[in-house]
Amino acid sequence: MPTFVYMTRCDGCGHCVDICPSDIMHIDKTYRRALNIEPNMCWECYSCVKACPQNAIDCRGYADFAPLGHSVRVLREEEKGTISWKIKFRNGHEKNFVSPITTKPWGEAIPRLADLPPPDEEALNSPLLTYEPEALKVDSGLPTISKDQFKQGVYY
């Protein structure tokens, strides 16, 4: 479903250009609005659709296999922490879905490495990663392969 941009809504802000993983959203020099310059390199990931502050971008099904007349529209509300979908079938039938996208306020529940005591030589040379073993939810150390799980002759 390559993206397309509504002529009357786009203000050329460039959010879509920044976020597109495929580098296909560009600003047209004449119209000063965004456009998809390479529809057959669009994965239809909706990253630009979700990022557009003007709701100026949508997708229309890949013309070489999807019949016309349907739409899949999205509203990602960061503050609310939700994503809402409206699906319209070719026959007019509609479906709506809402789901959560996060359980925490953005930008707060991030790793606070500076709060940890500086690592010593021993920690650096052990196979344990940051927050391990606690983050593994095991009582002590890393899991190990018990003796009876080893192939005979390989070990023990």
Binding site: P21, S22, D23, I37, C45, K88, P100, I101, K104, K137
Partner: protein
């Protein structure tokens, strides 16, 4: 002033360069600051796109496919080797298994919504909250913002000054005095006329797998709807190969069977909703075709319904070959069965789950359904095996040969040379799709593997404190090479009246189509139903060599096309590796993914081993060899016979 024909050159020296901003790179970026924060090593992360939405998880995911929980990581090793037809690096897989839950727990800590079983709502995994499992290893999530959350943690750890987005790395450069050591990398901005040259002591190359190497089933706009994200162009494999790193199992590929055209995921449908498949006549072809596995010894890798994913494809392809397609997935019966004991409220919830599974990770499938008026509870859908992709973290295991952790008892010497996840090139590390012979890591395993590699890189850098990187190529030479497609365009564009048809150059798009045609027709693409033989490969070899030569004649009319040019160059090198490996392995190890019609059997006696290769960029020559497979984890009763057979003597 820099302009299109004359880019500005920016040089920077760091201790560690991270190439890529996907799951593995984000894991590395988060972890690395723990070990360098206090000693002040200089780190830089370079991504061709924006980290918040780059890589395979751009659109989100609906499941974390690798979570141990109550499972023993040794069983995880058994599962992975069963799926990948017996040959994996068990040390690497075990290493992922023993660490992976710590990444998943961090994701939850950072805000990723993880589904919990009834009565466990609101209880974190670390507090004993029971996840909703869609399979033994998979847990369900509301993952629309999965990548956003993981990238946020990485960005906050690293700090904005140490991140460079929208720069595509073209190649790695070896050390001036040691050709087996990496010292630098060169790339260019896709936004400004700038070339970036980095020098470093160590580098994590984690730029994902490869798509669009093969002609896709869709040929118009729908090319964009490949199953694998269209922006991962094999950069990991190509850059590592050109730097002299040893690759392993590059013959392996992934051919996912998915909902037709939209390539919507089937995992939840099979595992969670228990949907069944059938041929055009409503027959259960899996039951019917089970017997054909014995024809070529494939049954040695099936134990009842437990078998490698490729074997399931094999039984399906048989139906397609014999004209009994299309293959259907019976979604209405699955939904009806589940709904039997449900309240209307619960049924509504079930339906939402089915749609959200797609909306979280393959939105296009919803478009296909809506366009064709398909409601999955009322109408069946077709499923189809896709064109081949190369990757190392999903249900495939192509990639680089790396050192393992070394502390797992029984690890043979050839699995371990000091630093975890370091390739055979000194200072060059990889993770995620980059690590070969260790598939089924998925998003969480790739993240934790990035973390493992990050820590090992710090150790490497500390052990090489006084070493100064000196590159074997001059900056000027590199800049000229990177911008050659631009120069070619500017020099010849007025030679003809139409810029796209010009005997002096080839457009990146045509270059890609030429590659895809070769790979599709000669190297077991969809048009031969994944079949090839020595003669076809010989022809492919010749055509690929000419394609390599023409690589220097690609044009770039703007920065976007320069990006496409280098992506396609990376695809070409990756494709060549794939072809050479298939040519070398004289058996059909992965039936259903590809067939050597001149060697249709699985031949454990000669081929239960790795195939490893190295490439010499200066001579264009490939060196390929067998490497012994060593089994560490004892086979248990549930595993098929092939797993218990001895490895090939190499």
């Amino acid at each position: 002033m820099s302009h299109f024909g004359n880019p500005e050159i920016i040089e920077e020296e760091v201790d560690i360069l991270i190439i890529g901003g996907g799951m593995a790179a984000c894991g590395a970026a988060t972890e690395i600051m723990r070990w360098t924060g206090d000693i002040g090593l200089k780190i830089k992360l370079v991504d061709k796109a924006a980290m918040a939405r780059s890589g395979a998880v751009a659109m989100g995911l609906s499941a974390i496919n690798t979570y141990m929980g109550e499972n023993d990581p040794a069983d995880y090793v058994r599962y992975v080797r069963g799926d990948l037809m017996g040959i994996i690096r068990e040390d690497l897989v075990y290493d992922v298994g023993r660490h992976v839950d710590s990444s998943v727990h961090l994701f939850e800590e950072w805000g990723l919504p993880i589904w919990k079983q009834k009565g466990n709502e609101g209880k974190k995994l670390t507090e004993g909250g029971k996840p909703v499992r869609s399979g033994r290893w998979q847990i369900m999530i509301n993952g629309e913002s999965y990548k956003w959350i993981v990238a946020e943690a990485a960005k906050k750890s690293l700090g904005p000054a140490n991140i460079q987005e929208h720069v595509f790395i073209v190649r790695l450069i070896t050390d001036e005095n040691d050709p087996k050591r990496v010292a630098g990398a060169v790339g260019f901005s896709v936004r400004e006329n700038k070339i970036y040259v980095y020098k470093f002591k160590a580098c994590l190359l984690a730029a994902g797998g490869a798509v669009n190497v093969y002609r896709p089933r869709s040929v118009g706009e729908g090319i964009g709807r490949a199953w694998y994200p269209v922006w991962n162009a094999g950069s990991t494999y190509a850059m590592a190969a050109e730097c002299g790193a040893e690759m392993t199992l590059m013959e392996n590929r992934f051919v996912p069977t998915r909902f037709k055209d939209g390539y919507g995921p089937v995992g939840a449908w099979f595992l969670l909703f228990k949907a069944k498949t059938m041929n055009a006549f409503g027959e259960d072809y899996q039951a019917k075709n089970y017997g054909i596995l014995a024809d070529n010894g494939y049954d040695a890798y099936a134990a009842g319904p437990k078998m490698g994913t490729c074997l399931r494809n094999h039984m399906m392809i048989k139906e397609m070959k014999d004209g009994r397609g299309p293959i259907f997935i019976d979604t209405p019966t699955a939904m009806a069965n589940l709904a039997k004991n449900m309240t209307p409220e619960e049924i509504k919830h079930l339906e939402a789950e089915a749609w959200e599974d797609f909306l979280d990770m393959t939105i296009g499938q919803c478009g296909v359904w809506a366009g064709e008026n398909i409601e999955p509870d009322k109408e069946m859908s077709e499923i189809m095996p896709s064109e081949p992709y190369l990757l190392g973290s999903h249900a495939g295991c192509a990639g680089l040969w790396v050192s393992g952790p070394g502390d797992i008892p029984g690890t043979p010497d050839h699995y371990h040379w000091g630093y975890n996840r370091m390739t055979t090139v000194k200072g060059l590390f990889t993770a995620g799709d980059g690590v070969g012979a260790s598939g089924h890591k998925f998003s969480s395993g790739s993240h934790v593997e990035g973390r493992i590699a990050a820590k090992a890189m710090v150790q490497f850098v500390l052990d090489n404190k006084d070493w100064k990187p000196r590159m074997s190529r001059s900056t000027k030479e590199l800049a000229e090479e990177v911008y050659r497609p631009v120069k070619t365009f500017l020099k010849y564009k007025d030679y003809t009246t139409a810029i796209d048809v010009n005997p002096r150059y080839i457009t990146p798009k045509m270059y890609q189509l030429r590659l895809q045609k070769i790979m599709d027709e000669y190297v077991a693409g969809i048009s031969t139903l994944y079949q090839t033989n020595a003669k076809m490969l010989e022809i492919a070899e010749k055509k690929l060599e000419m394609l390599r030569e023409d690589g220097g004649k690609m044009r770039a009319k703007d920065l976007h096309e320069l990006l496409r040019a280098w992506e396609n160059y990376h695809r070409m090198i990756t494709a060549t590796a794939h072809m050479k490996h298939i040519q070398f392995r004289e058996e059909s190890r992965y039936p259903g993914y590809y067939y050597r019609t001149d060697f249709m059997n699985i031949d454990d006696e000669n081929w239960k081993c790795f195939v490893n290769s190295t490439y010499n960029r200066d001579t264009g020559k490939w060196t390929i060899k067998k490497v012994p497979y060593v089994q560490l984890v004892k086979p248990d009763d549930s595993e098929p016979e092939g797993i218990k057979r001895p490895a090939a003597k190499v």
